[in-house]
C-alpha cells in the first residue's frame, strides 16, 4: 500500500524546552491509527507540526510522497491533509449550513466567484444535505453555531473535515464533549470513509481506541515510546506503565 504520510526525525524546541524530539512514523492508505499518550506527551504539538500550524526545528514531513515541511497549513490542506480541532473551532455567527457550504466551496476552489449565488451553486445543497445527515445535523442546519450545543459543534467539526475529501485525516479527540450515544455516530462515519485514506486519531478514551484503531502510536515526553498493532501496543509493559497505569487512576 502507498505511504500517505511520512514523518522523519521530527523535533520542535521552544527555546531550551524540547517538546517533540526525533519522532518518526508513517501512515499507509487505509491505516486507522490512534495516537495516544499521557497529558503533556506532546500529542497536540505533534499534530500542529504535521498540519503546519507550527514550524519544526528539525525533521521532514512528506504527504503522498511530496515534501511539505516548508508548506503553509493551507497548502497542506489543499493537498489533502485535513484536521479537526480538539476544541471545536467554528464561525460563531454562521449557520451550520453555511459552514458546510464554505468548506465545500473552498475545497472546490470556487470561493473567488464574486457574482455567483451560494444558494444556486449546482450540487451544493445536495452535498450539504448528505454531509449533515452523516452526522445527524439536518435539524439544526439553519441554526447559528454560537447557539448550538457543544456536542453538536463537535459533530459539525467532524462533518467539515469529512467533506473536505481528505487523503490523511487527523482527528484531535473527536469524541471529547460528545455524548456517548453520539460518539458511535462518529465512528460509523469514519467506518464509511473511503478505505484508501489514512486516519490518525488522538484519543484518551481507550474504549474508543480499541474500537477504532488497527495500529497505535504512543508518545511520552515528546518522544515516540512505541508503535505497532493495537494488540501489541496494549500488551506492551512500558505502555501500561506510562499511560494506562496513570489513566486507570483517573477513571
Amino acid at each position: 500500500m502507498t505511504i500517505l504520510l511520512e514523518v522523519q526525525g521530527l523535533s520542535k524546541n521552544f527555546g531550551g524546552l524540547q517538546v517533540s524530539s526525533d519522532i518518526t512514523m508513517s501512515l499507509k492508505a487505509g491505516d486507522r491509527c490512534a495516537l495516544i499518550g499521557p497529558n503533556g506527551a506532546g500529542k497536540t504539538t505533534f499534530v500542529n507540526l504535521v498540519t503546519g500550524a507550527l514550524a519544526p526545528t528539525a525533521g521532514v514531513i512528506r504527504l503522498d510522497g511530496r515534501d511539505v515541511t516548508r508548506l503553509s497549513a493551507a497548502d497542506r490542506v489543499r493537498r489533502g491533509l485535513i484536521r479537526s480541532f480538539q476544541v471545536a473551532r467554528l464561525f460563531a455567527s454562521m449557520t451550520v449550513r453555511e459552514h458546510m457550504e464554505l468548506a465545500i466551496l473552498q475545497r472546490d476552489r470556487r470561493t473567488f466567484r464574486l457574482f455567483a449565488s451560494v444558494g444556486r451553486t449546482r450540487g451544493l445543497a445536495a452535498e450539504v444535505a448528505e454531509g449533515l445527515s452523516l452526522m445527524g445535523l439536518e435539524a439544526v442546519a439553519e441554526t447559528t453555531v454560537g447557539s448550538l450545543a457543544y456536542g453538536q459543534q463537535r459533530l459539525l467539526e467532524i462533518a467539515l473535515a469529512l467533506v473536505m475529501r481528505p487523503k490523511v485525516l487527523i482527528l484531535d479527540e473527536p469524541a471529547a464533549g460528545v455524548p456517548h450515544s453520539e460518539s458511535q455516530r462518529i465512528l460509523d462515519a469514519i467506518d464509511r470513509l473511503p478505505k484508501d485514506l489514512a486516519v490518525l486519531m488522538i484519543e484518551h478514551d481507550m474504549d474508543l481506541v480499541a474500537r477504532f484503531a488497527s495500529t497505535i502510536v504512543v508518545l511520552a515526553q515528546g518522544k515516540l515510546l512505541c508503535s505497532g498493532t493495537t494488540r501489541e501496543v496494549l500488551a506492551d509493559p512500558r505502555v501500561r506503565e506510562v499511560y494506562l497505569g496513570s489513566r486507570a487512576h483517573a477513571h
Binding site: 473551532r89 464561525f91 453555511e98 473552498q106 470561493t111 464574486l114
Partner: protein, 345 residues
C-alpha cells in the same frame, strides 16, 4: 431574545423551531431605497443638493460596510479610495472625457487600484496597527493631492467638472434634478451589486475570515487573499462614490481624502448598523439629515447635538438603527430571530 438564542440549542424541540428559516426580506432594501428616494424627490424639491450628497455618501459608507461589516477590517482610510476616485474622475472630466458613466468607471478603477496596491501592502496587519496604516495611507494620498497642484488644484480644489448629459439625453440642470436622480440610480445599482457580492461564495469566505482567519486557513483558504480582494472591491465602490460626488457637484476638494471624512464614514456606518448593507444607507441618511437640520436651526451648538444624538443611538440602540428596526419588526410580528451582523444581508 438573546437569552432565547443561547439557551435554545440543546433540545430537539427548540432546535426545530430555530431551524425554520426567518423570512428573508433583505432583497427589498434596494428597491425600497429607490422608492423612498423618488418620493423624497417630490416631497423635498428644495433639498436636492443635500439629497444628492447623501446618496453619494451612502454609496461610500456602503463600501466601508463591505470591508468592516463583512471582513472585519478596521479602517480609518476609506476616504483614500473615495478621494482617489473623485480626483481621477475630476481630472479625466477636465482633460479627457465628460460622459458621466465613463467618469464613474474611471473613478471605480482608480479607487480599486489604490485599494489593491495599498491593501496588498498593509493587510498583513490587524487591529490597531492596521488602523494606523490606513490612516497613514489617507495622509499620503491627501498630501499627494495637495502637492500636485497642476492636476488637482491643491487646496483651491479641482473645479470645472462639466459632465455631458446622462446617456446623451438627460442634462445636468441647475436645480440638480438630474444629479439627484442619477446619484439615486447609482446608489440603488450599487446596493444590488453589493448584495450580490456578499451572498456569493466569495462573500461567505470573507465572513469566515472576519470570524476566524485561522479556521479559514484550516479549510484550505488564504485569508489575506480574501481580505485584499474585498478591500479592492470596496475601493471600487468608494471610487465610484467619489466620482459620483465629482460629477454631481462639479468640484473636488482636499476634504474628500481627509481623515475626518474617513472617520465620518465610520460614524455613519456604526450609527446605521454594520454587516447589513442597508444599515449604511440608514446611517448616512440619519447622520447627514440630522447634521443639516441641526446646523440650520442652531448654527452655534449643532455639534453638541450631533454628539448627543450619537451617544443616544450607541447607548440605546446597540447594533445601530438597523438592529433597532429589526428588533421592532420582530416584536411586531412576534418572530424570534437573532440579529446577525455580517449576515447574508
Amino acid at each position: 431574545m438573546s437569552a432565547t438564542m443561547t439557551d435554545a440549542a440543546p433540545t430537539n424541540h427548540s432546535a426545530a423551531r430555530l431551524a425554520s428559516p426567518r423570512r428573508d426580506l433583505s432583497w427589498t432594501a434596494a428597491p425600497l431605497v429607490g422608492l423612498l428616494g423618488l418620493a423624497a424627490f417630490w416631497v423635498f424639491p428644495e433639498d436636492l443638493g443635500l439629497m444628492t450628497r447623501i446618496a453619494a455618501a451612502a454609496l461610500y459608507v456602503l463600501s466601508l460596510d463591505l470591508v468592516l461589516g463583512y471582513c472585519g477590517i478596521a479602517t480609518l482610510g476609506q476616504a483614500a479610495m473615495f478621494g482617489t476616485g473623485a480626483y481621477a474622475a475630476g481630472i479625466a472630466a477636465v482633460h479627457l472625457v465628460n460622459d458621466p458613466l465613463i467618469l464613474l468607471v474611471i473613478g471605480g478603477v482608480a479607487g480599486g487600484a489604490i485599494a489593491l496596491a495599498t491593501g496588498a501592502l498593509i493587510l498583513h496587519a490587524r487591529g490597531l496597527t492596521l488602523l494606523m496604516l490606513t490612516i497613514a495611507v489617507t495622509q499620503i494620498v491627501q498630501e499627494v493631492a495637495n502637492k500636485a497642484r497642476d492636476w488637482t488644484g491643491g487646496s483651491d480644489g479641482l473645479s470645472g467638472v462639466d459632465p455631458a448629459p446622462v446617456f446623451g439625453l438627460f442634462r445636468f440642470d441647475m436645480v440638480g434634478r438630474t444629479s439627484y436622480l442619477f446619484a439615486l440610480a447609482v446608489l440603488v445599482v450599487g446596493m444590488l451589486v453589493a448584495r450580490r457580492i456578499v451572498r456569493s461564495p466569495f462573500g461567505l469566505a470573507c465572513r469566515g475570515v472576519k470570524e476566524d482567519p485561522v479556521r479559514v486557513a484550516a479549510l484550505g483558504g488564504s485569508p489575506r487573499a480574501y481580505l485584499v480582494t474585498m478591500y479592492a472591491v470596496a475601493g471600487m465602490f468608494a471610487g465610484v462614490a467619489g466620482a459620483l460626488t465629482a460629477v454631481s457637484s462639479g468640484i473636488v476638494g482636499l476634504d474628500s481624502v481627509s481623515f475626518s471624512w474617513s472617520a465620518e464614514a465610520l460614524v455613519m456606518l456604526v450609527l446605521g448598523g454594520t454587516g447589513r448593507l442597508y444599515g449604511a444607507v440608514i446611517g448616512t441618511v440619519a447622520f447627514m439629515a440630522a447634521h443639516h437640520i441641526l446646523a440650520a436651526t442652531d448654527p452655534f451648538h449643532w455639534m453638541a447635538f450631533i454628539g448627543l444624538f450619537l451617544m443616544g443611538v450607541v447607548l440605546f440602540l446597540p447594533g445601530g438603527i438597523a438592529a433597532g428596526l429589526e428588533r421592532l419588526r420582530d416584536r411586531l410580528t412576534g418572530t424570534k430571530s437573532g440579529s446577525a451582523p455580517g449576515g447574508r444581508a
